[in-house]
Each structure stands twice: as structure tokens, then as C-alpha cells.
């Protein structure tokens, strides 16, 4: 019953989306004003209906209703509660329903709260949102129905891939999806503004919180995903340039660029066409990412649905939406009048520089990710990894990070270099000193980590400079947000560079009672014993680790064997200190009874994820500042309107 309800509600939502598109298009034509009032309620209704449908699917998973094909194929009655819940989106159909749910709900929220935009632009935006949603409804209902019943119930479900049975699954996909799909709102705003020729500061201000929100979620999702991959895959790496990782990085790069250009448009009414273009690109990158992940066209641990039919469906959607938006942009770009001018040496100039560098990085990542597909057309199988991505993206990223210590100090419109040289000298000095220190005290490090440490240290200091000379209590929250986010980038870069420069690894076959040295840490294997969990059994090693001559701590790396579905997974153990992290993995037992063990000492690696979280925190501060500001303004406008009305009455 629940499954039928979920499916029926989903069809109804799709019908509402079609109606919303129709009403929106009619309303924008001359004489269609009667339809104007219909669009907002339709968008809200649609959001509510899809949410019900998604709740229905969650319910099916929680109950483990084995008459439903999706549940039978992906769940198991013995699974812990949190994985039953997270299993809802740990598969193709469920994750596409999550996608549509977020998309429809964000459309509903736009309809509910957006008050600053011109009414016709808003209607065009909502019609655009409905148009984009329709494609995904079609995809879901025609080729990936999550509510399909089996002819008869199976006795037990097939279970969830052991690699996915991790708390990370509960958070990482939903946050990333909110980020991906949040960008669809920016896309729709861009389409709306192009259709009604309303590209200006009001449009940028309406779009900015959505971009910021989506960007915060993307940042958290990427950071969480990176940490998940780090501790669960047992390779000790945190970023593999896997196509699916790139698929999340590309929208983030585009959203970061969009965020900055939208702020130029909102504050200075410049970079109009550029901002619209980035709005289109950002969501296009989300869709390219979905295409790469969902079509199974590239090798990846994420590619669980290898289905050519679905791949071509998403490819068709990509072509329609990106092609359509680009064509619209081509037709209307000439009507977007040029914004305010600025000197190249100004805040705007530095933001343009940042945008161009971000787009360059995006191009590098995109080409590297798609290259294996292109060569496959000529029957050559290649894979592209860190030797390409690291140095080539650094060519764009490093200058951008240097600029991040300069740009925020500049004035809008026009500035003189002399005004800021004294302030810029501080981070420049820090960079130079860090460079010198690394070269002198730690010779033999590769060039990229050296540059990373120097630039990261400079940025970590330079990011605070915009607060210099300001009244700290009267500084807007959004400025603090910027400072914290830039600081976070510097911190993350320091963590990444330090990991790459100073990690030490020890791989050894150990008997119980043996000790090994890894970096400053002495590890001792005490015992190996079998343990059991709800749906797995494991060999559990007890290892003590002492830093230099300090007190030992105990770690428990495991090798887990899952029963449903059968699979194995190494469960690494981590010990975090203020100055680094010990990473321990239990391998296999050799023929001679010794155990393979692998240890890494990674100095300052936690800074990497701490930096990522700081970046997200900066975004949150900025969003709070913006929203509070908007609310205050709306309230003030309301008061003025009220007083005016009363004055009229008195008269």
C-alpha cells in the first residue's frame, strides 16, 4: 500500500510540475496574467507531494518490505537501523528520488519565501525549475521506478554493499545532493533572469543565498566524503582523483566562482553576463557529475548502476538542459547590458582573476576526467591520475591562493597599489619565511608540497588582514564569513601539503608481540582475536602505540567479513594527536603465521578536514549575515509601507 501511495504521489507531483511549467509560460505571455497566481502554489504543492513520496520510500526501507524490488535488492532485515535508513539513498533509484525531492522542495521554498525579485522573473524562474524537474521525473518514473513491486516477496533482502555500510553513508550523499540540486535553483534563476531580461543586482541578491547554501553543503559533503574514503578504504589517501570525486569537485569550483561573481553583481552591478553564464555552468557540472556517477560509464567504487539505457537517458537530459540554456544565453547575451566599469586594480579585478583561475582549474579537472572516455572512442584505454591532476591544477590554484591575500584588501572600483603594500607585506613575509624554513630544515621534499606549505602559511595569516583597522564589533558577519573561509582554505592546504611531504609509512609482517617504528611512534602488536557485529564477523588486532616515550594508547584495526551480501572490508584504526594522526591497518595472515600490518604517521593531516569545515563555517556565517540583513531590510520596508498607509488614512 505504502509503495503504491508513494508512486501515485510521485506521478501527481510530476503532473503538477507540468502544470507549473505551462502556467508559468502562459503567465509570461501577454494576456496571461490570470495564471500568475497559480505558479507559486503549484510549486509549493509539488514540493510537499514529493516529500511524501520520499517518506514513503524511507518507510519501506525501515520496514524492510521485501515485496518491493528495490528494498529486496538493497536491504536486509538484519541491518542496523541507521543503514536501513541510509540504504534508502544508497542505491540508484533511491538516490534519484532524493535528487528529485530536494529539487522540488527547493522550488517550493523559493516560491514560499522569495520576495525581492520582480514577479515575472520569479515566475520564469519557477517555470524553469519545473522544466528541469520534469526531465528528472521522467527519468525516475520511466526508467528507475523506486516503488516497483516484485511478483512475489523474496524471503530475505540482498543487503547493502559492505563498503557502504558506514555512518558516512548517512551524511555524505544527502549533503552532496543538497549541494548539487541547490545549484539547480541558481540555474533556474539564471534562466528566469535571461527570459525576462532582468539580469541585475536584484537577481544576484535573490540568487546569492541559494548559491551560498548549496556551496556550504557541497563543501561539507566533499570534506565528509574525503574523510570517509580516507578511513574506510584503508589506502591512507584522502583524495584519489576518482571520476566521482571530480564530479563533486567540479560543481564546487563552479559554485565558488559563481559565489564570488554574484557578490560583484549584487554589490557593484558588474559582471552581469558572466554571472549568468556561471549559473548555467554550475548546475551543468552537477548534471555532468550525476551522469558520470549514475551511468556507470567510468570505473569507480561509486558506480553501482551500470546500465547503458540510463546513461543515454541522462545524456539526453544533459544535452537538452545544458544545450538549451547555452542557446538561450547565446540569444539573450547581447541584451544583457554592460554593468558598471572598474579598473583592473580593484576588488572586482581581483575577483575576475579568481574567477578565471577557478574556471581554468575546472577546465583542467573536466578534461582530465573525460579524457579516458575520449580516448576510448579510439580504442585506447587510459587512466588519468595524480601525476596529471596535481601539477596541472596547481598552475591555476597557486596564483589564485596568492591573490586571496590581496583581493579582499582592495577597494571596489579603483584602488592604488601603494595603499595596501604594507599590509600585503605581512603574508608575503610569512610565505617567504615558510619557504625558507622548509627548504633549510626539511630538504628532499618534492616541489609541490613545498609550495603548498609556503602558500598555505601565507594565506592562513593573510586571510585575517581584511579585519585590520576595522571596528571588529561593527564588522558585518559576512566579512567574518569570508575571513574564516579563506583561513580554512589556507589551513586545508597546510594539512594536505604536510601529509604529502612528511608522511611516513611502515609495512611489515608481524608476529604477536613484535614492535615496529613508524615516524616518532612505536607500535606493538599485542593480540589478534575474532569479534562479531550485527551482520559481520572480524579479526580484531589489539595494537598499542606510544609517541616518542609517552604513555601507550590502544588501537583496534579490524578485517571485517560481511555476510549479507558477502564481502570484506578493512576497518582502519586512527589515533589523532594535536600534531598528526596514526593510521593502522590489519592485513592478511601469511603462510608463516605472521600478520601483515600497515602503519602511517601523518603529521598535521587533520588540518585538511578541519580546514574544509572552517570553509563551510565561513559560508554559514556569511549566509547568516546575509539573511539577517535581508530580514532586517524587509522588516524596515514593511514598517515604512505601514506608516505610509496610516498616513494616507489619517489624511
Amino acid at each position: 500500500m505504502i509503495a503504491e501511495l508513494g508512486l501515485a504521489v510521485l506521478w501527481m507531483a510530476a503532473a503538477l510540475a507540468a502544470l507549473q511549467l505551462f502556467a508559468g509560460v502562459v503567465a509570461l505571455r501577454p494576456g496571461g496574467a490570470a495564471m500568475t497566481g497559480l505558479v507559486r502554489p503549484l510549486a509549493i504543492m509539488q514540493g510537499v507531494l514529493v516529500a511524501i513520496s520520499f517518506l514513503a520510500l524511507i518507510d519501506l526501507f525501515l520496514e524492510t518490505d521485501l515485496t518491493v524490488k528495490l528494498v529486496a535488492e538493497n536491504s536486509h532485515s538484519m541491518k542496523p537501523f541507521i543503514f536501513k535508513l541510509a540504504g534508502t539513498w544508497g542505491n540508484h533509484e533511491g538516490s534519484m528520488l532524493l535528487w528529485v525531492t530536494i529539487m522540488a522542495m527547493s522550488g517550493g521554498i523559493v516560491a514560499l519565501v522569495e520576495k525581492r525579485l520582480r514577479e515575472d522573473t520569479l515566475i520564469a524562474t519557477l517555470a524553469g525549475q519545473a522544466f528541469v524537474s520534469l526531465g528528472f521525473y521522467a527519468f525516475l518514473l520511466l526508467s528507475s521506478n523506486p516503488f516497483e513491486r516484485l511478483p512475489e516477496a523474496v524471503p530475505e533482502g540482498a543487503g547493502l554493499n559492505p563498503l557502504l555500510q558506514d555512518i558516512g553513508l548517512a551524511f555524505h550523499p544527502p549533503t552532496l545532493y543538497v549541494g548539487y540540486v541547490g545549484l539547480s535553483v541558481a540555474f533556474s534563476f539564471a534562466i528566469g533572469a535571461l527570459v525576462t531580461r532582468d539580469v541585475g543586482p536584484a537577481f544576484a541578491r535573490a540568487m546569492r543565498p541559494w548559491v551560498l547554501g548549496a556551496w556550504i553543503f557541497l563543501t561539507i559533503g566533499i570534506t565528509a566524503g574525503s574523510y570517509w574514503a580516507y578511513y574506510t578504504l584503508g589506502w591512507g589517501g584522502w583524495w584519489f582523483w576518482d571520476p566521482v570525486e571530480n564530479a563533486s569537485l567540479m560543481p564546487w569550483l563552479a559554485a565558488t566562482a559563481l559565489l564570488h561573481s554574484a557578490s560583484v553583481l549584487a554589490s557593484r552591478n558588474a559582471l552581469r553576463a558572466w554571472t549568468v553564464m556561471l549559473g548555467v555552468i554550475a548546475f551543468s557540472m552537477s548534471m555532468v557529475g550525476t551522469f558520470l556517477v549514475r551511468s556507470g560509464i567510468l570505473t569507480s567504487v561509486h558506480a553501482f548502476a551500470v546500465d547503458p539505457e540510463r546513461g543515454s537517458f541522462i545524456l539526453a537530459l544533459l544535452a537538452i538542459y545544458i544545450g538549451g540554456a547555452m542557446a538561450l544565453f547565446g540569444f539573450r547575451a547581447s541584451t544583457v547590458t554592460e554593468g558598471e566599469r572598474f579598473s583592473l586594480f580593484s576588488r572586482e579585478g581581483s575577483l575576475v582573476f579568481n574567477n578565471v583561475m577557478l574556471c581554468g582549474t575546472l577546465a583542467i579537472v573536466l578534461l582530465g576526467t573525460l579524457y579516458p572516455l575520449m580516448t576510448e572512442a579510439f580504442d585506447a584505454k587510459v587512466s588519468v591520475g595524480p601525476p596529471y591532476f596535481n601539477p596541472v591544477s596547481a598552475i591555476f590554484v597557486i596564483p589564485m591562493m596568492l591573490m586571496m591575500s590581496v583581493g579582499p584588501l582592495l577597494r571596489w572600483r579603483k584602488d592604488k597599489p601603494g595603499r595596501i603594500t604594507a599590509v600585503v607585506a605581512i603574508p608575503a613575509l610569512v610565505t617567504a619565511l615558510a619557504l625558507l624554513a622548509v627548504v633549510v630544515f626539511a630538504p628532499g621534499i618534492r616541489i609541490l608540497p613545498i609550495i603548498g606549505i609556503a602558500v598555505g602559511a601565507g594565506l592562513a595569516v593573510g586571510s585575517w588582514m581584511p579585519l585590520k583597522g576595522r571596528n571588529l564589533r561593527r564588522t558585518p558577519l559576512s566579512v567574518y564569513g569570508m575571513v574564516v573561509a579563506h583561513f580554512g582554505i589556507g589551513v586545508a592546504l597546510l594539512g594536505a601539503a604536510s601529509e604529502s611531504a612528511f608522511s611516513t609509512e611502515r609495512l611489515a609482517a608481524m608476529n604477536v608481540g613484535d614492535t615496529q617504528q613508524v615516524g616518532p611512534i612505536t607500535v606493538k602488536l599485542l593480540s589478534i582475536a575474532p569479534v562479531a557485529g550485527p551482520n559481520w564477523t572480524a579479526l580484531d588486532a589489539t595494537v598499542t602505540a606510544s609517541y616518542k616515550d609517552g604513555a601507550p594508547v590502544t588501537l583496534h584495526p579490524q578485517a571485517r567479513t560481511f555476510s549479507s551480501p558477502p564481502g570484506e572490508r578493512t576497518e582502519s584504526a586512527l589515533h589523532t594527536r594535536w600534531n598528526g594522526q596514526l593510521y593502522a591497518v590489519l592485513g592478511k595472515e601469511g603462510d608463516d603465521g605472521r600478520w601483515q600490518m600497515r602503519f602511517w604517521w601523518k603529521p598535521f593531516v587533520p588540518l585538511l578536514w578541519l580546514g574544509g569545515l572552517l570553509v563551510a563555517l565561513g559560508g554559514i556565517l556569511s549566509l547568516l549575515g546575509r539573511v539577517a540583513h535581508d530580514v532586517r531590510r524587509l522588516r524596515a520596508e514593511g514598517k515604512i509601507a505601514y506608516r505610509k498607509a496610516r498616513l494616507e488614512n489619517l489624511k
Partner: protein, 155 residues
């Protein structure tokens, strides 16, 4: 670039200048990517290709094939293994130091990432099938006739 210029351009060209800067950067990125990709992409080989047309020493490549039965030996350090990867036509000795993937056994398929050192392929990383549903895509894609047997056996 905007660090050094102090805005001496005529305002009416501003849009054009921005457009040109963006285009130059993007085309630059594209050319850079094309150049770096042609040097850094790691090609996929089966043993027969390796013997017929060996890549230069030290270049990052991937090698796919079957782990020959009876070839797997562990060295005395307990963590370095030697084995032979074959595709029914040719054989290549492989050395790997590390913890092998769970389903890495003799007679099953493997994709090794690494480079040729002398006549031996030194692997940095081994990819075996994760479970019965997951076969590394390159393995399914060997395409040549000899690889078909390999794939059939892996399934």
C-alpha cells in the same frame, strides 16, 4: 595579471578585455591539459601488448590479466609478493609490496597500476574485483580475443 596593471585601458573596451582574458585563460588551460594528458595518462596494457610493444621504462601504466596459477610467492619480509600475469599469449612477472585486495587469488583477474623496471612490472596498487558484482571495468574491456577468456574466467 591584475596585480600589475593599474587600469590604463579605455572603458569602452572593458568587456572585450575581460572576454579576451577569460578566453586566453581557458584556451591556455585546454592546451596545458592536452599537453599534460598526452604525457601523463597511463595506458592500459595486457601482457601480449607489453611484450609486442613495450612502453618506456618508468612510465606509469596499467597491466591487466590473470594471475597465473602456482606463480604467487611471498618473499621473506612477508609483505612483498611476486607473481606472473598472463593473458594466454604472453606472461609478465609482477612485484608488489603491500596488502593485497581481498579477492586477489591465483587464477583470478587483476589490474595492476605501476611501471616496468627492467623486465619486471613493479605494481604500486592492485585492483581485484571487490565482490562478485564488481569487476574493474578495464578488465571487462580488454576486447582482444585473448582477453575474452580472461574475462569469462573472472566472472
Amino acid at each position: 595579471m591584475s596585480e600589475t596593471k593599474t587600469g590604463g585601458i579605455k572603458p569602452k573596451h572593458q568587456r572585450l578585455v575581460l572576454l579576451v582574458i577569460a578566453l586566453v585563460a581557458l584556451i591556455g588551460a585546454g592546451l596545458l591539459a592536452a599537453y599534460a594528458l598526452s604525457n601523463q595518462a597511463s595506458y592500459f596494457y595486457v601482457p601480449a601488448d607489453l611484450v609486442k610493444d613495450p612502453p618506456e621504462q618508468g612510465r606509469a601504466i596499467r597491466l591487466g590479466g590473470m594471475v597465473e596459477k602456482g606463480s604467487l610467492k611471498t618473499r621473506t619480509d612477508g609483505v612483498t609478493i611476486d607473481f606472473v600475469v598472463g593473458d594466454g599469449m604472453s606472461k609478465v612477472p609482477v612485484r608488489f609490496t603491500g596488502i593485497t585486495p581481498d579477492l586477489f587469488v591465483e587464477g583470478s583477474g587483476v589490474v595492476a597500476e605501476g611501471r616496468m623496471e627492467g623486465q619486471t612490472f613493479v605494481a604500486d596498487n592492485l585492483l581485484a574485483k571487490h565482490d562478485e558484482n564488481y569487476v574493474p571495468r578495464q578488465m571487462g574491456d580488454m576486447t582482444q580475443a585473448q582477453a575474452k577468456a580472461v574475462v569469462a574466467e573472472t566472472k
